[in-house]
């Protein structure tokens, strides 16, 4: 075997192995369950000042979900193309309103949406169509989606952020809210939000 052929062969094999490892890592992911920590995803800091202020992540180019200034973060994994997510959008907006209109909860529970396979344009279409008041982020290349175990949509994850900077998932479920009030009560109870220790 010539030196050139050997180098080519080794390069091809190295690329194949690297891709296999990276892919296996992504596909090995499952949706985080109660007690788990979140996958380490970095989300671009929003350009919109209102979204920045809501999340409290005004520094740097990227943030992680546990860096959001809140005691509880509810993550909605959705898609502009998902009929269930479209139907559920008004109820999720109502959840946001219930939180924001309650002085005991405002600032403590925050919502974000990750638009699975959606471009920035598509996320903006969804936001405008349903007047979504909380920050939505595109996930055009499905990288977040893979990290979250390629769940179907809509999928909701509740995360408790502790004062020491640690966090735990306390809610992880496929499907809709089944009523904003009931969902909120469950989130408050399961997160232990009324037990103190929140940020």
């Amino acid at each position: 075997m010539s030196r050139r052929k050997a180098v080519t062969l080794l390069s091809v094999v190295a690329i194949a192995v690297s891709l296999a490892v990276v892919n296996a890592h992504s596909f090995g992911a499952t949706a985080p369950q109660k007690g788990d920590v979140l996958p380490d995803i970095k989300i671009p800091v929003p350009l919109n000042n209102d979204d920045k202020a809501y999340l409290g992540v005004e520094q740097g180019a990227f943030f992680t979900i546990p860096q959001i200034k809140a005691a509880v973060v509810i993550i909605e994994i959705f898609s502009m193309y998902c009929p269930y997510c479209q139907r559920e959008a008004p109820e999720v907006n109502r959840l946001y309103s219930l939180i924001e209109n309650d002085p005991r909860l405002r600032g403590k529970i925050k919502l974000i949406g990750l638009g699975t396979g959606n471009s920035k344009f598509e996320v903006e279409v969804f936001k405008k169509k349903y007047n979504v008041p909380f920050p939505l982020f595109p996930d055009e290349d499905f990288m977040f989606h893979k990290s979250f175990g390629e769940v179907r949509t809509p999928y909701f994850i509740g995360v408790r952020i502790n004062t020491d900077g640690t966090h735990q998932v306390f809610y992880s479920k496929l499907g809709g809210l089944e009523g904003a009030e009931q969902f909120l009560r469950l989130i408050i109870r399961w997160s232990g939000l009324n037990e103190g220790g929140a940020q």
């Binding site: 998902c82 471009s119 279409v125």
Partner: protein, 200 residues
């Protein structure tokens, strides 16, 4: 193992890895009823029409029971044809529900959307019912099987259609063709951008 044999195996590994990495979102609206055909050959047909040519005419049955002819829009509306490969498959099930919430964008460009699949009417009826009430006609190119798709050159060798978009202006001239990778959903902004060019 000989050099070229090892390279072939490595390339096969790469292609399998890349193929398996094409992800798609799946709405819970369809529950567990979406059949995953796996990674398919991105394009499996040869176009028979070109941009600038008159669009071949057709008349197809819609799931509403009426028949829709391309000619009925001549001089009145721009027409977007959205061919999707098959009902109850992953990417297709995500595509039309997105179009369903942007009627205003089509209206802004004085365009109608015609969704076309080679599935039969009962199948299309059951499938699209899961998407909510669609504002655009859904047409069945089932019999003669895929005849319209074949006329446009987007009928694949397995009898399904390509994931293809044609924009036809009010004069009946094809202004845009996109035969994309069947495994991926075309970005909405590309379609909107092309619709915008109709007004230039």
């Amino acid at each position: 193992m000989r050099t070229h044999g090892v390279v072939k195996v490595a390339l096969l590994v790469i292609s399998i890895v890349l193929a398996s990495s094409s992800a798609f979102g799946r709405s819970e609206a369809f529950k567990g009823n979406i059949y995953n055909p796996g990674h398919l050959k991105p394009v499996d047909s040869t176009l028979k029409v070109k941009v600038g040519e008159p669009a071949p005419g057709f008349e197809l049955p819609a799931i509403t029971g009426e028949r829709i002819a391309l000619s009925q829009f001549r001089g009145k509306k721009n027409v977007v044809l959205s061919f999707v490969p098959a009902a109850w498959t992953p990417v297709c099930s995500d595509q039309w529900p997105g179009y369903n919430i942007v009627k205003d964008l089509f209206d802004a460009y004085d365009a109608v959307l015609l969704g076309i699949s080679v599935d039969n009417i009962p199948t299309l009826f059951a499938w699209t019912n899961q998407m909510g009430k669609l504002w655009f006609p859904v047409l069945s190119d089932f019999w003669p099987h895929g005849a319209v798709a074949d006329t446009y050159g987007v009928l694949r060798s397995d009898g399904t259609a390509e994931r293809a978009i044609f924009i036809i202006d009010k004069g009946g001239i094809i202004r845009y063709i996109n035969v994309g990778d069947i495994n991926k959903r075309p970005p909405l902004e590309d379609l909107v951008e092309e619709l915008g060019k109709l007004q230039e």
